[in-house]
Amino acid sequence: MEFFLQLLVNGICVGLLYGISAMGFVMIFKSSSVLNFAHGELLALGAFFFLALVTWAKLPISVAFILTLIGCFLLGFLIERFFLRPLIGEKLIFVIMLTVGLASMFKGLILLIWGGNLYTYPEFLPDAMGLKFGSIYIAPVYSATLMISVIFLVLFGLFFKKSAQGIYMRSVADNQRAALSLGVNVRRVLALSWAIAALVACMSGIVLGIINGVNVHDLSSIGMKVFPVVILGGLDSIGGAIIGGIIIGLLETFTGGYLSPSLRDVVPYVVLVFILMVKPYGLFGLVEIERV
């Protein structure tokens, strides 16, 4: 029972991380229907940028955090402006391969500057944030992750429901042409959504870095884990990303704990194929897939 509970808690924690990393991915898909294969590298860029500001520039944590978010916001903006905008209306494979190419570029760049080593941030979370239930202990980072993901979920919920920009974004996601004819500035919306998505990605990168340490290979492989998560949750549902993340996280830790540790990495993809065959729009996605 003890083992089960520990696995449960671990699974939820890992799952939350997946969910939080998937949020940025979903944001991009939701507004521009681009499948972002460079997501893992965006996470890594955020984590390394923060690392540089904290350890090299020796800035205080809060300043470094805000600077990182601003930097990532700009980065997302630039990616959209220079790489994605020329491809509006192009074939799917070009868009996919462009993000793959970007992923390769970012990864090469990070490896060139920082190498493939594992870095850690200095400790800055207070111990008081750790939670203890009986014999089960939740480390401060995980409770911080939980808090951050809830805060972001609420913020994004409000943003998409209430703010004008959020409503524009939803309209663009729903039907680009109709939005254009109603006077929505589609270009600005796309640029903004990439910027926000990069910001979210960087933030998740930092959170992942706090927990697992900062390593390019680990972080970019998370980018591949995002696929089962978002397909399960529904490609265009931010809440679905979190829930999908938790389900995949639980699935991984339970197969790792009860069946075999080597199965752990492949189970999400088996589930992915299964879901695609049965319910391709996921648990919370918009049902509009066309059967062929």
Binding site: L35, M97, S104, L111, V273
Partner: protein, 359 residues
């Protein structure tokens, strides 16, 4: 009396009258002669002039070109994106290795058999294409890549896991195929045959069905093309090519492990198809040549950079430069010349043909 056929050159306009003329592979006899001369040079001069390293590169190009042609049939002609081609290549390599070591069959059986086995595996992973298309199918094939990779590593009793398998040297009628030169003939005869097959299948009813599915799947269905059947067939043919190439690669490399058949390889193959030119068989060969040469060049370049005094003293690792340049190449091709090298080649040819009146 035999009627002498005149060599045909480029007409000054489009004078095609029948559908058959439209389907001609060679527009002119000049092209046919050029190809003949090129093949003669390739087969009778190249292996004797080139040094072993060059010949090795040429052989690798030949193998990757076979796999790239297969992927081009799937992506370029049928419009189905597969991120699992690298894994299929691996399935072919392992199938050949297992057939050769466990059953002791000759390479002339093992290589085509590996192709057929891979075709079956490819068709299994093509089944999702019955319900999915576009990015959903891409993600399904991505899952296929990871699942195959896992099976190759974990199915110890069959694949020997991370230990790898060593293949016996291929033998036929007491003659042993070994050394770069012998493999050159094996690989390039296969490449020529496979190219010939690919070019011709596009001209048949199957090829036309593939193109119809790519251009508009609903219209194709409406015209009576059973699209699921044809998509599966396309997956099968494409995986056959991958498996065949993988088997050749396994024999050429002598010993194989699961390591090379990762997502990176699949991405490289798609890059070849895009850089070469989608929906263009010679394009796939151009793409394979380009990427292989780029890889070799970057390896050489980063190697020399590392040996330059001040970089060594700084302790910089220049190897990631390779990854960066690879990504940059893909991005630049997509942004600047999405039709790829085949289009550049066409532009060069037509500017020669139209000179000096290039409009």
């Amino acid at each position: 009396m035999k009627i002498k056929r005149k060599l045909s050159f480029h007409p000054c306009g489009n004078y095609r009258e029948t559908y058959k003329q439209e389907l001609n592979i060679f527009e002119t006899d000049f092209g046919r002669v050029c190809l003949g001369v090129f093949l003669a040079l390739l087969f009778f001069v190249a292996p004797f002039v080139l040094n072993p390293y060059m010949l090795y590169i040429l052989n690798i190009i030949g193998i990757t070109a076979i796999a790239a042609i297969g992927l081009n049939i799937l992506i370029g002609y049928t419009g189905q994106i597969s991120l699992g081609h690298g894994a299929f290549f691996g399935v072919g390599a392992y199938a050949a290795a297992i057939l050769a070591t466990r059953l002791g069959v000759g390479f002339y059986v093992a290589i085509p058999a590996a192709g057929v086995i891979t075709a079956l595996v490819g068709m299994i992973f093509g089944i999702p294409s019955g319900r999915l298309k576009g990015l959903y199918l891409t993600i399904a094939t991505l899952a296929g890549q990871f699942i195959i990779e896992y099976v190759l590593i974990q199915w110890d009793s069959l694949t020997k896991g991370t230990m790898g398998i060593t293949l016996p040297p291929p033998q036929i009628l007491g003659w042993q195929v070994s050394g770069d030169k012998a493999f050159f003939y094996l690989i390039f005869v296969s490449l020529v045959l496979m190219t010939w097959f690919a070019v011709n299948i596009i001209r048949t009813k199957y090829g036309r069905a593939f193109i119809a599915i790519r251009d508009n799947d609903r219209a194709a269905e409406g015209m009576g093309i059973p699209i699921f059947k044809y998509k599966l067939l396309s997956f099968g043919i494409s995986s056959f090519y991958a498996g065949f190439a993988g088997a050749l690669w396994a024999y050429y490399m002598v010993s194989i492990t699961t390591e090379p058949f990762n997502l990176g390889l699949s991405v490289e193959y798609i890059a070849m198809v895009i850089i070469g030119g989608m929906g263009n068989i010679p394009g796939a060969i151009f793409g394979a040549t380009f990427i292989t040469l780029l890889n070799e060049f970057l390896r050489y370049f980063t190697g020399t950079l590392m040996n330059i005094g001040f970089i060594t003293s700084l302790g910089l690792n220049m190897a990631p430069l390779k990854e960066f340049v690879f990504g940059l190449t893909i991005v630049l091709f997509i942004l600047l010349e999405p039709k790829g090298l085949a289009e550049i080649w066409r532009i060069i040819r037509s500017s020669f043909r139209l000179w000096p009146f290039s409009y």
